[in-house]
Amino acid sequence: MTSVGSHPTETGRRDVVLAAREVAKHFPIKEGVLQRVAGHVKAVDGVSFEIRRGQTLGLVGESGCGKTTLGRVVAGLSEPTAGAVLFDIDSETLAAYDGGSSVGDIETAHKVDALTGDAYRRFRRNCQMVFQDSFASLNPRHLTIDIVGRPLRVHKEASGSGLTERVVELLEQVGLGRQHLYRYPHQFSGGQRQRISIARALALDPELIVLDEPTSALDVSVQAQILNLLHELQQANDLTYLFITHDLGVVRHMADHIVVMYLGTVAESGPTSAIFENQHHPYTKALLGASPDVDAAEEFTGLEGSVPDPAHPPQGCRFHTRCPVATARCGWEVDDVVRWIEDEPGAAGRLAGVKRDSAFAAELAFDDAATAAVVVDAIRSGRIHASMPEAVLKAESRDSRVDVEFGAVPDVELSVRGPGHVAACVHESLLDL
């Protein structure tokens, strides 16, 4: 524990700029006039990763999987519900923390929401965020000089003509200039607005920038300009990036390491080459298969079904409702049966009630005995899913009722697949599937 007491204003040189440990962010769902809390949207539900100095970590996943929420927590813009975000920490200290030693001391020195005074200010200025929608994130009534100069003024870095000169310098770094100082956001193109957002993020000379889909709203030719610019700035200023995107071509180009998220959790994470060449999670595989690549005009498939509700994530593996290679160990549960009934022409509309003992066991009531028999048969015969018969403990009908119970399955944990490469899937390899 050598580094804990280091001087708080010293520029961080520790090798891990930021580490997330089991970070969760749940949003309450409020209902009725009394706004009672009826449940929680588990937007981020236990995510860990670390970002090494000078590197780019890519964060990918479908819309609504929690990327922006996680980015905001990492940038200190929102507090995690659980877990820790550790800032500027060396690998040994992090290993000690993971091993459970000196947890309290380490958190006092590095945990973002425990930092105070100078240490907190140092984190704030060293961690900046660039948002997806440059139109929404730039105040339409402010001039460029006010937008880019604001962080400098707030942190009392510059004022008067010094401030103007520093803003010009920043604008020049992002390919704009003095002629743009006194213009409003609407007078710029999308690409130029994104440059202004980047200039603002650079103002305090940060170590880490969280980039939330910085090019998703831009055309390819402008996207290329911005991606080149981000790379140049990274080289020149020794920047570390957390790069959020749903464009796999972009993330492959920009990231050293990739985290693939599904429904608030990490499905797979590893070095960029490993993720693209040797996927260990069927979701990663599906994402890559669905992403059109100009170089390769091969067939693309996409995924069946839609993303489940993050307020009620599936049991076992969260991906089992859509996974093409799901097994009996993946978490079959009552909801899977109910969803099948709702989509089955012969059974839809005949389900009168569901009495749950747990996610895995329930009594289903139908309008008639015939439907109950059909459902039992569908569960046992593997018509709902081929691996379901093996997972079911009980499926019996009594008149128009069905008792169904599956073996309880814990969450599928991440396991090591290679150096720095982890995946959460019961299959050891996808190669022979």
């Binding site: 479908e62 402008v222 991606l227 693309f300 995924l303």
Partner: protein, 391 residues
């Protein structure tokens, strides 16, 4: 040319301008192309280059004013019908074509679907409006004078709910109310089933906000394809969706198109998607067409510096980080544009003549045309060339 080989639509020298505070925006400025029967034609280009304005002119959906039809024609040849010049035709003829012979799906299904109507009501409307006589046939009602048909079709633009609850209370029709409802249900179910929505009968009674993005997109497609249009215009239909859902929707459009021999005008700025789904491609830049050709040929031999630039700018595994081939600069103002090549301000090959003379489209290969002096014999002057600029 026989009727079946005639293009389904021909746009000739189309000019649509918009009045704005800064001056007249030349959003579409002399655009000509054909859409052939049964083909998928891709329309690509940067934001604001005029893709949507061009597409909307096929349904006359551009707001006028501030829009001005500054010239050109849009001819539509529906199967077995006489050609119609859409920019000059009267409103009632246009209404008979819209949603029936030509249908459109949008980037944002939220805007295309009415939040206050169930899925059933949205799709039923299309049938009442364009298929009233077939519906009456279905239920065995003779309508010799065509009166009922006219009434229903006219009311359809108001609300399908009103037809079923109100109009059908009128005595001679009342007896057929249940039968008509069933006939409509069957057609709506079929239309939804075509898009592979699971359990269409249950989806029918939901409101748009109760559906996921992918499902809303399917409902919009079902509505657009309900009448088997000759031409479907898809304006960035999947931009708002995830890659995984995107792939399914595109497959679906392709499949429906093949089965019904529908022509599709597919608008996108995503070149990789266009390459996957289109037979031919039209590339627009700043209100004009810069290149057009068969997909394979255009991607194998992109000939306009802008097309080449677009393709080179896509990040791929082979690119060194930080060395993407960006097209520097930005799209020129479309307010009172200069007479020359609109790409000249960003083109690495531009010569003085490019700034004063519009190159115009000319063939470089079979079915492949380019608007650039690099590929045209230049009268009495030295034109730009790739080799020259490379040194």
């Amino acid at each position: 040319m026989t009727e079946s080989t005639m293009p389904i639509a021909s746009i000739r020298d189309l000019r649509i301008h918009f009045r704005s505070k800064a001056g007249v925006v030349h959003a579409v400025d002399g655009v000509s192309f054909d859409i052939r029967r049964g083909e998928t034609l891709g329309l690509v280009g940067e934001t604001g280059c005029g893709k949507s304005v061009t597409a909307r002119s096929l349904l006359r959906l551009n707001p006028m004013p501030p829009g001005i039809h500054a010239g050109g024609t849009v001819e539509f040849r529906g199967a077995g019908e006489l050609p119609v010049e859409l920019t000059g035709v009267d409103e009632s003829t246009l209404r008979a074509i819209r949603g029936n012979r030509i249908a459109m799906i949008f980037q944002d299904p939220g805007k295309a679907l009415n939040p206050g109507l169930t899925v059933r009501e949205q799709i039923a409307e299309v049938f009442y409006q364009h298929r009233a006589d077939e519906l009456l046939d279905d239920i065995g009602l003779t309508d010799r004078a065509g009166l009922v048909r006219t009434l229903i079709a006219r009311e359809a633009s108001l609300r399908s709910r009103w037809i079923e609850r109100g109009l059908l209370r009128v005595p001679p029709l009342r007896a057929h109310r249940a039968a008509l409802r069933r006939a409509v249900d069957d057609r709506v179910t079929d239309a939804l089933a075509e898009t592979q929505i699971p359990n269409p009968r249950a989806v029918m009674d939901r409101y748009p906000h109760e559906l996921s993005g992918g499902m809303r997109q399917r409902v919009m497609i079902a509505q657009a394809l309900a009448c088997n249009p000759d031409l479907l215009i898809a304006d960035e239909p999947t931009t708002a969706l995830d890659v995984t859902v995107q792939a399914r929707i595109l497959d679906l459009i392709n499949d429906l198109q093949r089965r019904h021999d529908t022509a599709v005008l597919y608008i996108s700025h995503d070149l990789s998607l266009v390459r996957r789904v289109c037979d031919r491609v039209v590339v627009m830049y700043a209100g004009k067409i810069v290149e057009t050709g068969p997909t394979e040929d255009l991607f194998a031999n992109p000939s306009h510096p802008y097309t080449r630039g677009l393709l080179a700018a896509i990040p791929s595994a082979s690119h060194q980080r930080g060395a993407l081939a960006a097209i520097e600069g930005t799209v020129p103002e479309l307010v009172d544009p200069d007479p020359g090549c609109r790409f000249a301000t960003r083109c690495g090959f531009a010569t003085p003549m490019c700034e004063t003379t519009d190159p115009g489209l000319a063939p470089v290969a079979a079915d492949h045309e380019v608007a650039c002096f690099i590929h045209h014999p230049v009268p009495g002057g030295v034109g730009p060339a790739y080799e020259k600029a490379a040194t």
